[in-house]
Structures are given as C-alpha cells and as structure tokens.
Symmetry: D2
Subunit: 352 residues, 4 copies
C-alpha cells in the first residue's frame, strides 16, 4: 500500500484526491494536512465523505503530520510547494505538486511564469527544478517512474490544450505561430473560496472571457509544444468561464502545413494515442460534450480539419478537477510506484 499525505486537503484539489484515493486499491491516506479547519474531520467539511474518509485535518506540527508516508500530494497554491518539497524529498518521500512551482525545468523558465502571476521570480528551491518532471503523463510517461522523486502536476487548461495539440505538434503538421486555444472552464476551476465573480446570482447566466492580458498556463503550453515541435511555438490563448461546475471545453485551431483531410488527421491522432487509457479520439460527427467526461480521468478529442482553409480544429473535453487536477495526480502516483497507470479508475462516473 502506498501511504499518502495530502497537504491542502480542505480545498477542491484535496478533496478530489481523497475521493480517488479512497477507492484506490493500492493506496491509503494516512494524513490530511491544511492551514484551516484543523481538528475538523474532512467528512464534517465534506459530508459526502462520511464513512469513507473521516480523518481529522491536522496542521504541520503535530504527531500525525510526522507519520511516515510514501508520497505527499501538495494541493497547495503557488509558492507553498517550493518551500516544503525539499524536506519531503530529503526524507525519501515523493512529491506531487499541483501548482506551477515544479512545472519548469529551469530558473529562467520559472521566472517567466512567476512574472505572469506576480510572484517573486526567484524560485525558493531552484535546485529541485531539474529533478522535477512535467506531469502530463501522456507526454512524459517515460520520465515518470520509480526513480522520480518529484512531479509538477499540470495546469487544467494546459492538460486540455496539450492533449489536443500534441499529435499535430509532434508530427510537425502545424505552423508554430498559428495556434489559437479558445478555452472555456467551469467554475470549480477557481476553487472553493467564494468570490464576487462566482457568486451564484452573478454567475448562473454569465459567460465571460477573463485575464486577456495573459494567462499563466500559456507558459507551460508553449514550452511543451515547442519541445514536441522542435521549434519555438507561440500561441494565442483565451480563458473563458461559463456556468457549469465541472469541465473544460477547449477549441484549438492551427494552420496545417500541407493540405490534409479530416480523416487523415483523425488517423494521425489515433495512431499517436494508441493504447492511451484515458484519451479517446473522435471525428467531427461525434455527439459528445463535457458531461461525458464529468467525474472521469478522460480526455475526449474531436479532431477535424476545416478543409476550405486547411485549418486544424480540435475540441478537447476534460473534467478540470479530475484529468485537470487530482486525477492526473493519481495517474502520476501510479507511475511513481510502478502500478498500472489506470489503477483506481475502475468505476464509472454518474450521469446525469
């Protein structure tokens, strides 16, 4: 059994991990840590967990927080992981960090990201950056293994866009400066904390674009696409919120280098994602949407070419809280401990 501690357990990212790990046959949650609600059972905060996980939330000081674990999930905001990861790694505990702290290989790359989110550009544990791997399993599977100590779990928008573009980028099918990612997220992506923009009366009929001046997920998308394409990729990225709770629908566009039929592109994507347990490639006639991945670790890709202008169009659907966060974390955990990658994802979600 993999012994797991979750830090930041009381947020949506933490509770998402609790839900997945309580049904995971090879994992055991031994500690839930946070900075609020200390002493409260997680099942008092989230009554649906009662009987499944009733651990009390602890702070970092007590005995419970010192119990030995194999892996710690850092479901914490930017800036936290870089401070506490070293102590775990030094103690031989693997780290899966949800924030942007460990998504970059170098101090330089991190600095660009930090600038976008208004944080100190100096990484507090820059030595760890080289040890970390970007945790989009489908792109870095080979580097997420028993020898790896730390994973930077990807951003939710980045998961949806990268899975939508990776085959085309890797196969050098698209113009590197022609890419547009038009992304729509559900409200849960903003987390548990109330906010004027996500107050029910202000949101129930509200669609809006936000942060047009630059979204932080752009850094990791461009970095990964550039790696895949073998040349510098620059994207236009639009973040939008619509009144659903869970889900991301990203529509991505790019100019194709040479005339391509829709079916050819579908075939290319299917080949690229052969044997992927969580990615499913569909053609333009598919009738699917975000509810079909809700609660799951899956990504649905509707792959299409606008043949009149030879432009790739892919619609990508994920659940921002699962494949976009806790699900990817568990998928990564499975690999870090040599388990079958889909372990723990054996039950379907519920519809409607």
């Amino acid at each position: 059994m993999v012994k797991v501690k979750i830090i930041g357990a009381g947020g949506f990212g933490g509770v998402g991990a609790v839900e997945l790990l309580t049904r995971h046959p090879e994992a055991e949650i031994v500690c839930l840590q946070d900075i609020t609600d200390i002493g409260t059972p997680i099942s008092a905060l989230y009554p649906h967990l009662a009987g499944y996980c009733d651990l009390e939330i602890v702070d970092g000081e007590g005995q419970r927080a010192k119990e030995p674990v194999d892996v710690v999930f850092l479901a914490t905001p930017d800036g936290v992981g870089m401070k506490i990861a070293p102590q775990y790694i030094d103690a031989g505990v693997k780290v899966i960090d949800y924030s942007g702290d460990f998504r970059f290989d170098s101090q330089e790359d991190y600095a660009e990201y930090a600038g976008r989110i208004g944080r100190d550009k100096v990484h507090a544990s820059s030595a760890l950056l080289e040890q970390s791997v970007y945790g989009l399993t489908e792109l870095h599977r080979g580097d997420i293994n028993r020898d790896r100590m730390i994973v930077g779990n990807p951003g939710c928008f980045a998961v949806s866009c990268l899975l939508a573009l990776a085959p085309a980028a890797a196969k050098r099918l698209i113009e590197p400066r022609s890419i547009i990612c038009d992304c729509k997220t559900g409200v849960s992506g903003a987390g548990k904390k109330p906010n004027a923009a996500f107050h029910y009366p202000a949101r129930y009929e509200m669609m809006n674009a936000y942060r047009l001046t630059g979204h932080q997920h752009v850094c990791e998308i461009e970095r990964e696409l550039s790696l895949l394409a073998g040349q510098s990729v620059v994207i236009t990225f639009t973040a939008q919120v619509v009144p659903v709770c869970r889900g991301i629908m990203s529509s991505v566009y790019a100019d194709l280098k040479s005339p391509t039929k829709g079916e050819e592109l579908v075939d290319a994507y299917r080949e690229y994602y052969t044997d992927e347990p969580f990615v499913r490639v569909l053609d333009r006639k598919a009738v699917v949407g975000s509810m079909h991945v809700r609660g799951t670790n899956r990504c649905l890709l509707v792959v299409d070419v606008d043949e009149r202008v030879n432009r790739l169009r892919v619609i990508s659907y994920i659940d921002n809280l699962v494949k976009g966060q806790a699900g990817s974390a568990v998928q990564n955990m499975n690999r870090l401990f040599g388990l079958e990658e889909s372990t723990g994802f054996t039950a379907p979600s519920q519809y409607p």
Copy 2:
C-alpha cells in the same frame, strides 16, 4: 456472482443500475434490454460508461435476452412489470420492479393507485401481489431475503417521506391526520424523455408545484405509515420541481401527540435507525443539503420540533436516482442474495 439483466436499460433508472452494478464486486450484468436503441452499445448512448460497460442493448427476442440470469431489474414504467414478471419468476429468476406494479399487497390497494395514474384498475398478475414485498429496505428488511422472489422498489418521494416519518409513526408519536409532506425534486426524476416543462430555458429559473390534484406516491406513503402507526393515516402531499438535476428535499410536518423536546425526538430517531447503513439522523443545527447525498444511497434526516406548537418537522434529503431508485434496487438485490446490504457502495461520490 449474481447475474443481472436490466430491462429498460436505456433510461435514467437503467443507467443508474449499470453504474452501481459495474462497481459491485458480486454482481455481473449479462444483458441490457430495452425497446429502443436495439443494437446500440449502452456506452454509445452514455459515453461515460465506455470501457466500463459496453454491452449492446437487445430486444426481448434474441439469443442474448435468453441467457440465464439470477435477477432482473425492471426499470420500466407502470404496466410493464406486471406483464413480464411472471415468466421470470416461473423460471426461478428474481424480479426487482421499479414501477408501482408490485408496491401493493392486494388488488384493492393496487386499484386505488391505478386509478390515480389513469391505468386499468385490474392488475395483470394479481396473484403475484401477495408474493411481492415493498422494497423500502429499512422498513421491510426481514421480508427481503433469499426466499423472496419479487420486490416492488419504492417511489422516490415515498422513500424520502417514509424514512422521515417512520420512527414517529412506529412510536405512535404523531396525529395520523396531521401529516404534511412538502416535497421538492430535481428534474431527473422525470426521466430521460424531453418535455416542455423540463426544457432548459423553461426550467433553469423555474420552481413550481404540480399535480396538486393528487400524486400517485401518496398511496404507498399512506399505506406504509398506516401499517407502522397501527391506524389509518391520511397525508397532505405537495410535489414540487426545482432546477436541480439530482435530489429530493422533503419537509415533513406532523402534530405531536404529547409535548416533546427537539432533542428527545432526535434521540428517538437515532434509536430507531441504529445500525442503519444508509440513514443518518441530525439535529436542527446541522448544515447539510441535497449535495451531500448526491450520487449516494444515503438519506440525511434533520429532525426537529417546533416546540411553540409541538409540531414535528423533519427535513429529508436523498438522491432520487440512487436511494430513490437504482440504489434501493441494488440494496434490495444484496438482500435477496444474502449479501452484505452495503455491498457495492464502497466508493464516495464526487463533490462538487
């Protein structure tokens, strides 16, 4: 392994059973039958099931429909079960019927119900009525066992109201003609078929009461309460729909026969429901709601007395598609085959 066939597999009641049974360690779905979508895999109708259950839907004629099973779930509307149940029972196959067809013990009781829903008052298999048991497990556990061949699964409103009132009725605490059940349901209770009242634009901001002239679930609620109370019970029942997908919130009221403190009533309810795996009794200070039972087989009861007028007030929360339908069916199946009653309910639901 219990071999299961589901008839009416393509509706919400059928797919709810598929979701629960695919995660059930002792059950195996061997046949999905319906009258539409023949030849279509259930996972084409419901893409979230892909990889978990990909059986094709069959009609009642082919080879697949003839394969031996241990139990059949009749997720079918009123009038279907009474026609097809006998053939299964004669063949030694147990039957769990979702409709009102087998919720009554006698032709007389059935006739009253049939009149309310505008159906023929003559039951097509009246001989089976005596063999059937009303499938609210918490009230009839002793009669739902290995020897039983047929269960009439309860109506969703009835589940919420009966669990809210059973302790008070059984303990003879309330006046039998003072009971009011004010019930609010989510839209999924109306099933999968589109309808003007449940069209998104007509519903997203719509609350309304309906069928004030008489709701069919009243019959079974009054029958069960009368049995518990040992005297004739007559209720006032109001059905209302609000724009949620899943959930029932029933507020029930009744005059208490003698002055009672809120805490006393809470204690009485807790005693009555001792050891119940799916019922949880809370006092008036509890901060809970329908989202806390969403996707689960649980019932939350907030038990209270308005001491100024000595009136019982209980707020009852269930998921209409689980404890109100497929979950109760699986709970009953577990008992019919001598399994632990909570088998298959080992994973938490997902929030938010």
Copy 3:
C-alpha cells in the same frame, strides 16, 4: 416628478429600485448613496444600466447628498434606517426602509425581532415606530397615503406568506395554531455579497433548509396574521434555498375550521383580492411557477383545499427582488405621493 434618493444603492435592493425608477414616468433619481464604491458610476458596477442611469455613487457627506429630495429609499441592512431616518423625516422627506427597523409598531414588538437577529433590543428611534406603517400595500393600503412619512417595507418571505394567508385569516377560516409556511427562495435573496453557501460550485445542485432555529420574518408574519384573524396566530416556518436566482415559492398549509370545497376557497380569495393590481388567484389546475412572476411585481396564488383532511393549501409565487423588495417599495412610493399604484409597472418582464 418625485425626486428620489437611494441609500444602499450598490446592492441588489438598490439596483432593483434604480431599474424600476428609471422606467417610472413620475419619478426621478437624484442621488445614489452608499458606503462603498464612492465615485463610481452605478453603471460601472452594473453595466446593464449604462445609458439609463449613470449617476455616481456618493457618500453621505458631499454636496450631492444634500440635494433636496422627496423620498429616500433605505436599501440598507437592519440598524441603519433607525439611525438616519429621523433626519430625513424632520426635513420633510418621506422614508421607505427595506429592513426590519420600521416593520413594528412598538418597542416591544421590535425587541422580539431584534432578539432573533442578534441585535440590540433597544430601537434607536423608537418614537418613529408609531408613525411607521407596515408596507405590504395589499394589507395596509388605507394607511399608506400622502400623510404618511415612513414605511417599513416588508420582508420577502413575509410578502409571499401573508398574501397567501390573508384572506383565510381575515375571514376566520383557519385554525390559528395550525399554520405551516414552507418557503423556498432563490439565491439573490441573500444579496450581492459572496458567501460559501452561495458560491456557484456549492450551490448549483444544492437544496437545503436553513435557520431552523428561527427565521426573523416569522415575527412580522405572525403579527400581521394575528391582526387579520383577531386572535393570536403562531406559525411553523421553514426557510429553504434552491438554485434559482430570483423567486420565492411558498407553500402554506392550515386546518380549515369548517368543511370547505376547493372552489369555495378560490372564490373567497378572489373576492378578497378583487381589483388588486398585482395579485392573481388561480385554482389547483393552474400550470404556473416562479418564472411567470420573474421580474414582475406580481404574486400568483394557487388556492386549494385537501378535502380529505379539510386543509387549506396555497402555493404563492413572487419575485423576491421585486414584489419581495424594490417593487413593493415603488408601489408604496406611488401611494405616498398619490399616484396610481401601478405607475411604472407598465412593461412586461422578459421570458425565458
């Protein structure tokens, strides 16, 4: 032209008044006052008002706040009106207060209310209590007139329940201790300020009862019903929130003193509300709901008797932000200045 100042202009209650007054042919908004967003045009806070009302929000100190007005709308929380009303009344300016500050006639009645909401039981302007009138126009029309200086605008739940019960109480048809008010409100009733309970992800599928220990609107409902019935009335009141933005659906129940047919009760209600511009009485077969009063100053009443137990049941629908708040305020303003009561309500709302 009636010159109007709105204090608390930036909240939902303030903006609701702005919307109604900009389309009112006999009123003119001359000042919008608040304690936040000073200097911001109301149309920057609420872009839908751009071009219709672009006044800047001012604090109480500047020149603008001193301009002469005929009436001030106090769209402010409990405790504010009692402090600032006297200065306006002394200056000959009429006051319409949204809070509970002026809903009571006496210091004693106020004290009970203040206790429920945890405020100081001593009213800061108790001398004004006698001068104030309870502003449910349909019940106190005669006292809301040109001679009146101050109105205590009613609570939203109270509007829905009192209109549902007034005819039965006034005609002495119901048992005074048998009344139950089961009320469901939309989220906008809680105002503009974000809150964990009204965060979109926590609310979109959430129904729940709250404040079972006692809701403050009970005081005014019982007081008014007692006045109408000529005897002491005690009610059981349940407040519930469901995921709609606008609307209240209250289901009220009471034992009828003598056997009554449904049609008789409908007739009695229709007689009582003859010529009321905003109340419409329907029988149990009506197919209506909260969307049909959305954005309007109307109350729809579905009047019914459960004849088996001789119990009155009325379903009452209002828009909590209009008839439950700003609409009643404008209706009262019309009366205070001798205008036709429905002035300014000449356009239909929008559906869906």
Copy 4:
C-alpha cells in the same frame, strides 16, 4: 402608431417581439398568428404577459388575421416567409423575416445556404430577393428606410460575429482567410421546442460543440465580410452550446496585415462605431460578460491584439433573443417607419 402583426407568435422569437412592442410608444400589436394554440391568449401560454398583451392567437384564416397592418414580423422557420411574404408586400405591408429566407440577394447565394440546411435550393419567391436587405442595421442602415418593403433579419451568431469583425474588415486590417469565429450560445437559441440535447438533466452541466460539418450562419457572415473587405473572405466557424438561457459570447480571431497595437485597434473600432446606439467598444481590461447585455439590444465588444503574434482578438457579447433576434427586428422596424432607431428601448433590463 405602427400596426404590427406577428406570425409565429407563440415561439421565443414571437414572444420576444411582443415584449418589446408592448413597451414601444409608437407601435401597436394588432394580430398574433400561429399554427398551434389557436384561440389561446398569448398570456395563457406566457403568463408574464397577462395584462400587457392578452390577444388570442389566431390562424391565418379568420377575420382577425385580415385586419389591416403596417408591418408583419415573420417569426417563422426557414421556408415559411418565402411563401407568405409576397401577399403582404403586394398589399403594401412591410415584412421583417427572422429566417434565412431573405438574407440573400440572389438565387445563387440562397442556394448555397439552402443546401447547408437541407432545403430545396430553389427559392419560392426569388423575385423578392433583390428587394430585400440584410437586416443588421449597423451595416446596412442606409438601405433600411421608409422605401424598403422587406428585411431579412440576421442570424444570431452572425450578429455577434459581424459586429466583432466589421471594422477590421472594412478597414482592410485583416487577412481574409485567417478568420476564426469561436461562438458559444445559450440554449434559448434553439427555441421553445423540447429536444434531447436541451433537456434540463442533459444540459445543466453540458458544454459541447455541434454541427462541426458546417453551420448555416457561415454563409451570411462570409457574404457580409466579403462585401466589407472588398475581397473574398472565408472563415472557420465553431458553434458551441453552454448551459445559459440567454446570451452569445463569440471570440473572433484574425491575423492583422500589419503590426498593430491593442490601443490602435480599440481606437479604430471606436471610430467605426461612433454614435451607434447599441454597440459599445471596450479594451482588454474591461470586466464584462453576457449578463451585462442580457435582455438588451446591445453588443459589447472587447477589442484586443495579441501583439506577440499580431493577431486580432475580439470578444463579442449579445443577447441572442434581443439583438440576435427580436431586438434587431424592432430596430429595423423603427427604421422602416422613420422612427428614431432606439425607440422602445428606453428601459433597462433587470439584473441579476
């Protein structure tokens, strides 16, 4: 007073016109015609209209349908207007058609559109095509005047995209084959008729792209942009549905021909739309969304350049039922009768 008949009065497009015209000081509805609900007052179908418009719906045969009118709104699906428009025009009655029947100048253009929607490519009244004008007032104001007899009201997606792109196209700023329109609509765009895709349980958490094989509004967008740009424009268009009732958010992208700053583009748009009563140009820092145009005839444009790749990005917000349909129709009516263009739009909408 302009006397108006509405055909197709019972649908969302019809009722939207009724709402706007009842508040219009220079218009009078004299006849509501449809093919269903004959004899039913519109206020029985839509109770919010009671007291504002209680006309009975008539068929085309009776006396009422023969009363003289000045203009007829054809709130009817494709194929209806082309059959009945001639009789009105011959009688000197102006026609505003909501469908695609009169959006095209020539039989050739119509045939392409008809092919996309699977209709007969031969127009039943092709002689009228030359007489008709495309009714996006902002683009064809000069041709929508007292002399004009027939207007082809624009498609809702087309309104949002054309207003977003017209200045850039007219000023020849963008590459004509680089345009992408990523559009998200609320559910009311699909009309009143229930449908599996818009059933509340299937929609409340559902985002999806649809009709990727080709949306019919592409024809009119390309035709208008080509006219503006003076060269052939080909767009990539993606239609998506999200769970809001009202609203369209279109994000449009195009490559700029020469390096352009964001502020320059904002200025160019503001100049183009100087004095437009219903279009408002904002820069990338604006915090706005679909709720801010809800219920109004306005279009909000957030104008931006992704300067790293020199790509135009405009986010366009409209209410699909107002500016996208009935509001544009009334705006056109105003022009057809020489009224001030914004007549009847004098009241703000309601928020939230």
